[in-house]
C-alpha cells in the first residue's frame, strides 16, 4: 500500500468538483462500458446535482421536478460534467413520471486504493 488517504481524497475532490448534472433517459439497453452517453436522453431533464463529500466518498443527488419531463417512462440515468461528459450510466425497470411526483436519484461514489 502506498497511496495515502489524503491522496485518495484529492482524487475525490477533483471528481467532486467536476460532477455537474444528471439526466434521465428512456432506453433500457444494457450498459456497455464503451458507451459515451445515455442511449435516449431527455435533455429537458438535465438538473444540477446536489453533492455531499465525506472521507473517500461523494454522494450525488439528482432531482427531476414535478413540472419537467412529464409523461415519459424513464429507464436510464447518467452523471455528467459541465462539458457533457458522462461518467456512468445505469439502467432500471421503467419509472413513469407525472406532475404529481418528483423523481430523485442518489448515487454513492467511493474512492479506494485499487
Amino acid at each position: 500500500m502506498s497511496l495515502l488517504d489524503q491522496g485518495i481524497n484529492r482524487f475525490r475532490d477533483l471528481h467532486y468538483d467536476d460532477m455537474d448534472t444528471g439526466i434521465v433517459g428512456t432506453a433500457g439497453d444494457v450498459v456497455v462500458s464503451t458507451q459515451t452517453d445515455l442511449v435516449s436522453p431527455v435533455t429537458a431533464t438535465e438538473a444540477t446535482l446536489i453533492k455531499t463529500k465525506s472521507d473517500k466518498s461523494n454522494t450525488t443527488e439528482y432531482k427531476l421536478d414535478s413540472s419537467t419531463g412529464l409523461d415519459d417512462t424513464y429507464r436510464e440515468y447518467a452523471t455528467y460534467n459541465a462539458a457533457n461528459l458522462a461518467f456512468n450510466r445505469y439502467v432500471f425497470t421503467g419509472i413513469a413520471h407525472t406532475s404529481a411526483d418528483e423523481i430523485i436519484v442518489k448515487n454513492t461514489w467511493f474512492y479506494s486504493e485499487g
Partner: protein, 217 residues
C-alpha cells in the same frame, strides 16, 4: 574485505557489469466505485410549487393534486423507494452513509470509521446480542435467484459470532447464508435485504468493514 575480494573477482572476469539495481515497480491505482444507484419517487402532495400547473395556483383552489387546499412547504409529501440497482449485480456497503440503514437495528453503524460494529461500547464484560438490517440492496422488479455475501470480519474474540441472513421477498422471509458461499434463494422475490446478527462480548471491537453482495437475477 569480503567486498574487496568480490570486486577484485569481478575485475578479473574482464567484462562490464551488466547487472543493476532492481527496483520493484509499485503500481498505484485509485479505484472508483459508483454503487448503488437509488431511485425514489416523492409525491408532491399539496406543496405549493412555483410554476406548477396545478400546485402553483394561488387563492381559491380546488384543483390541487390532492384535492385539498394548497399549503406552502411540504404538506402531504410521501417518499417511496422505487429502485436500487448495482453495476454487474454486485452491491457494496461501506458504511459511508446511512442511505440503506434500516430497521430493526441495534448494532452500531459507524460512518466515522466506516464500519459496522457489534455495539458502540468497548466494554467486554457485557454480552451483546445486536442486529443490523441493511437494504434494500436490490429492488428492480426482477427476481433474485441466488446470492453470495462476502464480508471482511474483525472479531475481538474468536468466540464472537457474526451471522448473516438474506431476504429476496422484501423482508418477509430471511434465510441464513454463509460468508463467501453462493446460496440459492428459497423464497424468490424482487427486493433484497441483508440482516446481520452479532453475538458475543466484542462490542465495538467486533465489526465488519465492508459488505459485498453478489446476486443473480
Amino acid at each position: 574485505m569480503a567486498q574487496f575480494d568480490y570486486l577484485k573477482t569481478k575485475d578479473q572476469m574482464g567484462r562490464p557489469d551488466s547487472t543493476g539495481l532492481l527496483v520493484k515497480k509499485v503500481s498505484d491505482a485509485v479505484k472508483i466505485d459508483d454503487r448503488p444507484l437509488i431511485v425514489e419517487r416523492e409525491n408532491i402532495g399539496n406543496s405549493w410549487i412555483v410554476g406548477h400547473a396545478r400546485n402553483g395556483l394561488v387563492g381559491a383552489n380546488t384543483n390541487t393534486i390532492g384535492g385539498d387546499q394548497q399549503v406552502v412547504g411540504s404538506s402531504g409529501r410521501v417518499n417511496t423507494l422505487l429502485r436500487v440497482v448495482n453495476r454487474n449485480n454486485i452491491f457494496y456497503e461501506r458504511f459511508i452513509n446511512e442511505l440503506l440503514k434500516s430497521t430493526p437495528f441495534t448494532s452500531d453503524w459507524d460512518t466515522t470509521n466506516q464500519i459496522l460494529k457489534m455495539d458502540s461500547s468497548s466494554i467486554h464484560t457485557t454480552p451483546y446480542n445486536t442486529i443490523a438490517t441493511i437494504g434494500p440492496f436490490y429492488k428492480n422488479l426482477i427476481n433474485i435467484t441466488s446470492v453470495q455475501i462476502i464480508v471482511n470480519e474483525n472479531k475481538w474474540n474468536e468466540n464472537d459470532q457474526i451471522l448473516y441472513y438474506v431476504s429476496a421477498d422484501d423482508k418477509v422471509n430471511f434465510q441464513q447464508v454463509t460468508n463467501n458461499t453462493k446460496t440459492q434463494i428459497l423464497n424468490i422475490g424482487q427486493v433484497g435485504w441483508v440482516k446481520i446478527v452479532f453475538a458475543g462480548n466484542g462490542g465495538a471491537d467486533t465489526y465488519i468493514d465492508e459488505l459485498k453482495v453478489i446476486y443473480n437475477v
